[in-house]
Subunit: 342 residues, 2 copies
């Protein structure tokens, strides 16, 4: 335990490998070249959007195992979740692995939750290798939360574009150039916002809370991190986050990045405030953030996926959209550990 | 680690206290007298079924804290989940606690998942006290998975009745007469059944898998347990479970109980196959199982909440209903540890 809400790992917990599989739009974006696999068919050969999302998960799991030269039986347990009701993308996507599963729900913060719990499992000695993963799909998410695609609704400038894709990481005690050195567990934070088309605004207070808590718990200043990277606040959430943190006397402007603002080109790709969805933070982590840490370009990164806690029902019943953010500290740990997998 | 899918805790992890809050029908059932609080108003003073379910969670959390003479700040983290899409009962029910939350989804196995992960947190030294809890509500579950109540649909004999209620446990290193000594992590098991009105049948294969794995991993025979208790298989799931385990050369007939078959009187209460829902296993554990272990009546119990993994969408799209079951080993640890809280 470290401070009020954080954990500093005493033993070494490594991100052994990672993989990403995305849809075509993500493949056409600024990060298109770094993803392990870009799938042109949004249905991924399946009959429904939900089955397609499951296949993205299955594919990402298979790829990360292949990259690490592991078999499913080498994985002790899986931490996974997604945005769909009753997490069906994960349930049906991971069944074939035939490994023990702990299902998670943290909306778009799920990759942070999976990495946090997975790291505790490795540090605690409860498993040699843990698979942490999540997914989202533009079409299944629109159907789940907003409008059927065929309705062709207008999207306000504050709206985000759910990333189609799945990202997976294997955590292990086996050495790699990237270590998880700590986590900060997030609280549910509600500023009373009710606009599900402005999720960045809804999640920014939670991100601010977790980032400030991380800095306090580890007794750090923002420049102790090379980067502080949220999941999918987008351009509007960004401004709110930076302002809220300034009110707490932390200026993270120089270190700050948001996966949702990196994955698409909002001008050319018509994605408004940016990318979102569980898959957004997961694929950017797997294929863009981790390689930069593994190369030593960044020595220490605070990765903070953010989730908007809502359902169709809670929205229609007039509830607010609270947020949650789970913080994970990733550190470079030397060229001598480079295994060439990132 | 123990065997292929289990963990044996090296340090002592205790269930410090527990609380249950149920609806009126549960209060009128065979266990009515043992619940901490029975609420007559199914809306619990709220405007919607979902808000009512959230209030059940908030109430159970408040009660267990009160019984243990603790304040929310004494809880390091919360593991919670429910059956509703995007876990809104937990999100809105636990916000006021203002504590770090890891949201779970394991359908009706969620109490087993929360206890398993919570126990690892305590054993691993990641928190002094963890709150593990879950809830369900008959009306919000019918709306979520089947038919609106007002439709007055017929219920086949294989259907179960979702328990209205919430159960909460505080796990800690502080001594109590009940210890968690191990867990067995469950796999997603799919026998291809598609009938969401026969969830006991859908979940029985997963329960059989986890129970058999537990016995193998800990090198035990069924009589090493005083009781082996599933969450909500009901009368039909029971028969399938016992048969499947016999095929694996384990006869647990003598030790076997199911929370769903205990909580209601199917003859008088018209509950068909039995009770179900996350809340079923949770309230029976909190107020009926734990006191029996705390008194020494049972020395060792295998508690196995079972979940049916499905959503309205997966059902309508013709998917099967896979199951998952999370096993938790609870043991009596002596009169000298009795603190009078059960």
């Amino acid at each position: 335990m470290k401070g009020n809400q954080s954990i500093e790992f005493q033993k070494e917990v490594y991100v052994l490998g990672a993989a990403s599989v995305t849809g075509q739009k993500e493949g056409e974006g600024p990060l298109g070249a770094v993803f392990d696999k870009v799938v042109k068919d949004p249905m991924f050969g399946q009959k429904t959007w939900e089955e397609a999302e499951s296949r993205f998960q299955g594919e990402a799991a298979g790829l990360v195992l292949q990259k690490c030269s592991l078999k499913p039986k080498d994985i002790r347990m899986v931490f996974a979740g997604d945005l769909l009701a009753q997490s069906i993308a994960s349930c049906f996507g991971l069944m074939e692995l035939n490994r023990p599963v702990y299902g998670l729900f943290g909306a778009c913060s799920t990759m942070g939750e999976a990495l946090s719990l997975g790291a505790m499992m490795i540090d605690g000695g409860y498993g040699d290798r843990v698979l942490a993963m999540t997914s989202s799909h533009f079409a299944s998410a629109e159907k789940e939360f907003r409008f059927p695609l065929a309705y062709g609704n207008q999207r306000p400038p504050s709206s985000s574009w759910t990333v189609t894709g799945s990202g997976a990481c294997i955590l292990s005690k086996e050495k790699s150039p990237v270590r998880i050195t700590g986590v900060t567990s997030g609280k549910i934070i509600d500023f009373g916002l009710k606009d599900s088309q402005n999720m960045g605004g809804c999640m920014a207070p939670a991100a601010a809370d977790t980032i400030a808590q991380n800095l306090r718990d580890f007794d750090r200043i923002p420049s102790d991190y090379d980067k502080i990277i949220t999941g999918d606040l987008g351009s509007i959430g960004r401004e709110i986050l930076l302002e809220l943190l300034k009110q707490k006397d932390f200026d993270i402007t120089e270190q700050y990045l948001d996966c949702g603002m990196i994955i698409f080109d909002p001008e050319k790709q018509d994605t408004n405030a940016g990318g979102s969805g569980c898959g957004c933070a997961a694929v950017v982590l797997a294929s863009w953030i981790l390689p930069r840490i593994a190369s030593g370009e960044w020595k220490r990164v605070l990765f903070v996926p953010t989730g908007a806690l809502m359902s169709k029902v809670s929205f229609f019943e007039g509830q607010s959209v609270p947020g949650i953010a789970q913080g994970v500290v990733l550190e470079y740990c030397g060229k001598e550990n480079d295994h060439g997998l990132f």
